[in-house]
């Protein structure tokens, strides 16, 4: 018999839904934050203030700045090494979000064609310089933010925000978002799995089923929210979330914050890259 068709079932395919894989990735980030390095033990407020100052300093440079941004790479590299965070994982995350920064800067080379730098015979336009500067700033700030979460934990950052005077409702919302994102995403993944198991030949997978699916998820979420609220009320919740302070802002934290901030200020106002260049060329010329 010619032309035997092999049913699709002979080609098993492992399909993990997108929800599940992003959940696993988030879970990994969460796991990293439960390590026990010296960096993890520092009060979240210290790390938060330092990182915020870092980000503000990095974005404060002029649009053609590249060389002065270079030394700033020290801070994210320090967070990754001291916090025992795999750099590859963070780099991958940066790549995922890089299209946003890319789209912001990609037209600069077309609009700004003034040559402001010569490398040998090739002239480099201001557009290219500012594009590189945008990408560099993006990489520095995003890697710092991700490393901060990985070495502190999202919930601890919420506590830090709360103690630093951010509106309580904001911190509490973030806390609950983080606590229940795992539960909700698992629920959504289960629903999608249940739908996939009963969809055949592409039928039942279209946009049509998404409406009821999302509606159902919303109703379940509301029910769960009611039950959680009841559980909170049963334990004396009165609108204020009281959390025991497990961290102390001590001498170590003071050194951490003041040390890094002074370093950032030096990097901000003294062109270390240029000095290093002069030093190296001075040695050889």
């Amino acid at each position: 018999m010619a032309g035997i068709t092999i049913p699709a079932i002979y080609f098993p395919e492992i399909i993990i839904s997108k929800i599940e894989s992003s959940l696993q990735s988030l879970g990994y980030m969460d796991l990293l934050s439960y390590q026990d390095t010296a960096l993890h033990k520092i009060d979240p407020r210290a790390k938060f203030i330092t990182s915020l100052f870092f980000i503000l300093t990095v974005v404060s440079f002029g649009k053609y700045e590249i060389s002065m941004l270079m030394p700033f790479v020290f801070y994210p590299v320090f967070l990754l090494t001291a916090g025992n965070i795999p750099a590859g994982y963070i780099l991958k995350k940066i790549l995922y979000v890089s299209p946003f920064a890319f789209m912001i800067g990609v037209f600069n080379p077309f609009f700004d064609q003034n040559v402001i730098l010569h490398l040998g015979n090739t002239g480099i336009s201001g557009g290219w310089i500012s594009f590189i500067s945008i990408m560099l700033r993006f990489a520095l700030t995003v890697s710092t933010a991700l490393a901060l979460i990985a070495c502190t934990g999202f919930n601890n950052i919420c506590f830090a925000l709360n103690r630093l005077g951010a509106p309580k409702i904001f911190a509490v919302q973030l806390l609950f978002l983080y606590r229940y994102i795992f539960v909700m995403a698992e629920e959504a993944a289960r629903m999608v799995r249940a739908r996939n198991l009963r969809s055949f030949n592409g039928k039942g997978k279209g946009i049509k089923t998404y409406g009821p699916l999302l509606g159902n998820l919303l109703l379940r979420t509301i029910n769960r929210a009611e039950r959680i609220h009841l559980a909170m009320i049963c334990r004396g919740f009165d609108g204020n979330i009281r959390i025991m302070n497990k961290y102390k802002f001590g001498l170590r934290e003071l050194f951490f914050v003041s040390g890094w901030i002074s370093l950032f200020l030096i990097f901000r106002f003294i062109n270390i890259s240029q000095l290093a260049g002069i030093l190296v060329t001075g040695l050889f010329i």
């Binding site: 439960y34 983080y178 559980a231 004396g236 919740f237 025991m244």
Partner: protein, 249 residues
């Protein structure tokens, strides 16, 4: 301490949609008693439990918990003396870490930090979960979650423990551990369950709820052995009262 009683008299409740969940419920549970509420799905067990923590107020009739009749004014006091363990632990463990969760109640009661710290540790030790103290709640197994959920309630030193299906979704060993743990508590215990073997292990008294009314109230060993009564209430004898599957004896 004879005042840790729970008394219901002609308790009735109708939901806004007209569903008469409780029609006429009366019972008296005295200090230190362990009572199982059993009944088919939709019999009114959950509605009754919602009254015990003051989430619902009696439509008709009267409910007294400890020294207080349940009214809008006394609800706060009642919630302090009644510890409610929910069926789904994920609903009960809403804080990021086990420590924060167990400390939540005592902190809301206004206890000073060092006492809260001591309470958190001692209650976690009681339920055998001290090693989980710094773990995030969402990374616990089902059995661990249930133990911690019980600790979150115990840390408030309640007089009365109310539990909704405490053994659901537990593996046999975790279920057995939980039963042993609950056995060691001296609190007044009210347990709504379908796990009749557990009811037999833990509760000397059983109340059967059928269509919003008390169908039977008496010694567990008598009630759970009464085939016709159980069958009328859509229930079955506990497995250990049923015959051997091989020889039928």
């Amino acid at each position: 301490m004879s005042h840790h009683i729970v008394q219901a008299e002609n308790l009735a409740y109708t939901y806004p949609d007209g569903n008469k969940a409780l029609k006429n419920i009366s019972f008296l549970i005295t200090h230190g008693e362990s009572v199982a509420f059993v009944g088919a799905n939709g019999a009114g067990k959950s509605t009754l439990l919602m009254h015990l923590n003051g989430h619902l107020l009696p439509g008709k009739g009267f409910l007294r918990i400890g020294d207080f009749p349940l009214t809008r004014e006394t609800v706060q006091n009642i919630r302090r003396s009644v510890g409610m363990v929910f069926q789904e632990s994920d609903d009960q463990l809403f804080m990021p870490t086990v420590y924060d969760d167990v400390a939540f109640g005592p902190l809301n009661m206004g206890l000073p930090a060092d006492i809260v710290d001591g309470k958190v540790k001692s209650t976690l030790e009681t339920v055998g979960a001290l090693h989980l103290i710094n773990r995030p709640s969402h990374r616990l197994s089902g059995g661990e979650k249930r133990s911690v959920a019980i600790a979150t309630v115990l840390s408030m030193s309640p007089d009365i423990l109310v539990m909704d299906e405490p053994t659901s979704n537990l593996d046999p060993k975790a279920r057995r551990r939980l039963i042993e743990l609950l056995k060691s508590f001296k609190h007044t215990k009210i347990i709504a369950t379908h796990d009749l073997d557990m009811a037999l292990d833990l509760c000397e008294r059983t109340i059967i709820i059928r269509e919003g009314e008390v169908a039977a109230d008496g010694r567990s060993i008598d009630i759970l052995n009464n085939k016709s009564l159980l069958s009328e209430s859509n229930l079955e004898k506990p497995l250990r009262f049923q015959g051997c599957p091989v020889c039928g004896a």
